[in-house]
Subunit: 452 residues, 2 copies
Amino acid sequence: MSRRRMMRLGMSMRGLGYHPAAWRHPSVPADGTLRFEHYVRSAQAAERGLFDMIFFADGIGIRERDEPKGSLARSGYELVEMEPMTLLPALAPLTKHIGLVTTASTTYNEPYHVARKFATLDLISGGRAGWNIVTSWSQAEAQNFNRAEHLDYDTRYERAAEFVEVVKGLWDSWEPDALIYDRASGVFYDESKMHLLNHKGKHFQVMGPLNVAGMPQGRPILVQAGASDPGREIAAASADVVYAAQDNVASAKAYYDDVKGRMAKYGREPGALKIMPGVRTVVGRTREEAQAKFDQLQDLLDPLVGLARVYASLGDLTGFDLDGPVPEPQRPPQVRSSTERLLARARAQNLTIRQLYQQSVAGGFCLIGTAQDIVDGLQEWFEAGACDGFNVLPTHLPESCEDFVDHVTPELQRRGLFRTAYEGATLRENLGLKPHLNRYSAAGAVSASAAE
Amino acid sequence: MSRRRMMRLGMSMRGLGYHPAAWRHPSVPADGTLRFEHYVRSAQAAERGLFDMIFFADGIGIRERDEPKGSLARSGYELVEMEPMTLLPALAPLTKHIGLVTTASTTYNEPYHVARKFATLDLISGGRAGWNIVTSWSQAEAQNFNRAEHLDYDTRYERAAEFVEVVKGLWDSWEPDALIYDRASGVFYDESKMHLLNHKGKHFQVMGPLNVAGMPQGRPILVQAGASDPGREIAAASADVVYAAQDNVASAKAYYDDVKGRMAKYGREPGALKIMPGVRTVVGRTREEAQAKFDQLQDLLDPLVGLARVYASLGDLTGFDLDGPVPEPQRPPQVRSSTERLLARARAQNLTIRQLYQQSVAGGFCLIGTAQDIVDGLQEWFEAGACDGFNVLPTHLPESCEDFVDHVTPELQRRGLFRTAYEGATLRENLGLKPHLNRYSAAGAVSASAAE
Ligand SMILES: Cc1cc2nc3c(=O)[nH]c(=O)nc-3n(C[C@H](O)[C@H](O)[C@H](O)COP(=O)(O)O)c2cc1C
Ligand SMILES: Cc1cc2nc3c(=O)[nH]c(=O)nc-3n(C[C@H](O)[C@H](O)[C@H](O)COP(=O)(O)O)c2cc1C
């Protein structure tokens, strides 16, 4: 009997959740992003629900601008929060099985630091570390790192590709059996199994070796988030997991086939990469209850915060009646195509200003309904070959995470789509990925010493 | 009755301890630097002993060179280990009171990352974070960070001074009462109490604000380690703690008076800075037992590893009889003065090669004896006004740490030199330091808005 293909699930745990009004929800600790217990509670709930991993998006600065004026002080969204690479190690001793994945930017970091920190997280957690590779894009981050403007797109991706190669090289510095610890003879490591990287590239010169070794996963899991052509190449060449943003099953399937199709030229099998689109879920015992839960959040969305969401496209609409029609843009559009798309939608559906910004909050792949409804939606994508699983974006924490675990997970299990116990000891094993093969062990001793 | 001045104590926990043969000691887990339990055990022992803090030195690369050839594979010292900024957060939930201090280099980091990570550690640990400010010096580290040679001394210290100012500025981004979380009105923070740094300096341009707030200590503790004139200025201007390297009470006192004397011009009182020299301790129930413990480690020191210690001064001595006299340098000395000092000592004491390198391992302030002997030594320095406490450098872990806690700590307490319970909730309180005053709250609302 062939084993059924199982869905992979990640729980996105940034901040107070993915609805911008989450902080005003009565069940949410408004100061939760600065309280360790808040993160512990969601992480432990996700582990109870047998999620493959918790996942942290990240920004190295406050990206939202105060436009319209006064909106930032009312937003409470991605403003102040814990730095995830410092937070995840603290969650490691309080969890046992769940993968610990966070974002680190290749634009504002150095590969030696990233290699070292994720290797350490892998050791501390017993093989549960994952790195989400991003290139960053915001001006706010650039301005915290000695730049007036963010780096241009091509340079960012060129740097990212080289960055990833260096990190992978550093992670292979020590073959798995390099460390001998032979007290009697006094030999600590086998010299032939330690390798200098000696990387000399356009963006980085890194000698190595890494001063960490012995990662339980061989090396941490690589996650990639980025949809452009160079982003897809990095994913096909190196990633174990892709975090994708897709809003319908057809485009998700096209994306899935495209990325998997690029893997062969890197000598990789399609199964070596798990593609997990984001999905927002709101579950209720009835559809009405689910909708009411979502409406409660929408009602808590401060108008200024809502207007901030459409500011980039439409300019300052604070003078207008929120329940009247959407006016012409109040300033020259920044990205003409998005402004035109937004306006066309407003006109076609005859939306008010309030309806327009409320819609923007529910964008992407969004499922509101009973556990059956939600699993129907997930199953459709999964069985259409549009994904290998999902990255769940809870509206507010910890409640939406607990709701998913208490209601959606059991229904997924009932249908045989999801595990009933963790299969392995490491994230790599739970994702169903093959063990990592150190490049030098793989190549054999002769070419390994030639490579030094 | 005036309260007696109490000694401050830090436990240096890098690696397997400070004796280079520690990994061969029968009580030491030779693979301990890659095992989380190893660090947990020492940290919990130090907390049981009421230490103010555990302290991690750090290097971003393997600094030791393989000279003489073959020595590196036998050294097992500062080779592979956990990255401390990732390790400390994981120790936070497994400890309650002890300060968590680690090194981060101003030469190979960016201030926004450092400010964010230590602020997060302060939140996770409930106010126990400390940053040891260093400038790094080794070529090995430079070569992991895109440089052939390390940065020259003056540039490094100029960068360090600016780096510290930026980090302090970022930590003050949010006044303590800036975050309101007013669900009803929808106001998350008070706009007048969030401050952009907008730093434009020679080495850094950083806009801010920091995206972390609400640190229990106001800001993390600043530790400085560096003895030169610019190092002393940074300490006098900004540090809460100095980790000093001193080998006799007279020079320690001169150093102490000098650094404290520099504080007035920054408007700081001498008590605002705690100076803690490093001390190596080996304790036994008798002097003979203590000496035997130390000799056991010395006997485990592999000759090649010993010769590596004098290589920089004397060149490759592998051809010579280890129990014969110290020969002339086998290559042109790198630092003439240290070579000359070493040779003069060898000649004056008629040392063999083996005795010379064994001495180098016991260098600095080193106390071997009974608990009484050790406390006598510590008390002498403390009461001479040469220090405010000590940073203990255990020879091997966890045993030397547990030895100190079980034998030396009770004797310190018996003499009224050390606490019998933690006084405060934060590291700042336990060190007896005043609360941190945010620069904007301190200056009052008017000048605060002018500073923006
Ligand atoms: C699903 C998804 C998640 C992302 N998460 C982050 C993140 O957490 N932090 C970040 O700086 N960038 C993030 N990015 C941005 C990417 O790194 C990249 O800068 C951006 O998507 C533009 O590249 P692309 O054109 O290849 O998609 C994310 C992108 C996607 C598609
Ligand atoms: C007691 C002490 C501890 C130090 N610890 C570290 C360390 O952990 N990592 C590091 O890179 N440098 C460390 N340093 C080096 C200093 O940052 C500095 O580079 C070096 O001491 C030279 O500067 P100075 O002339 O001001 O002492 C330490 C220095 C001292 C005195």
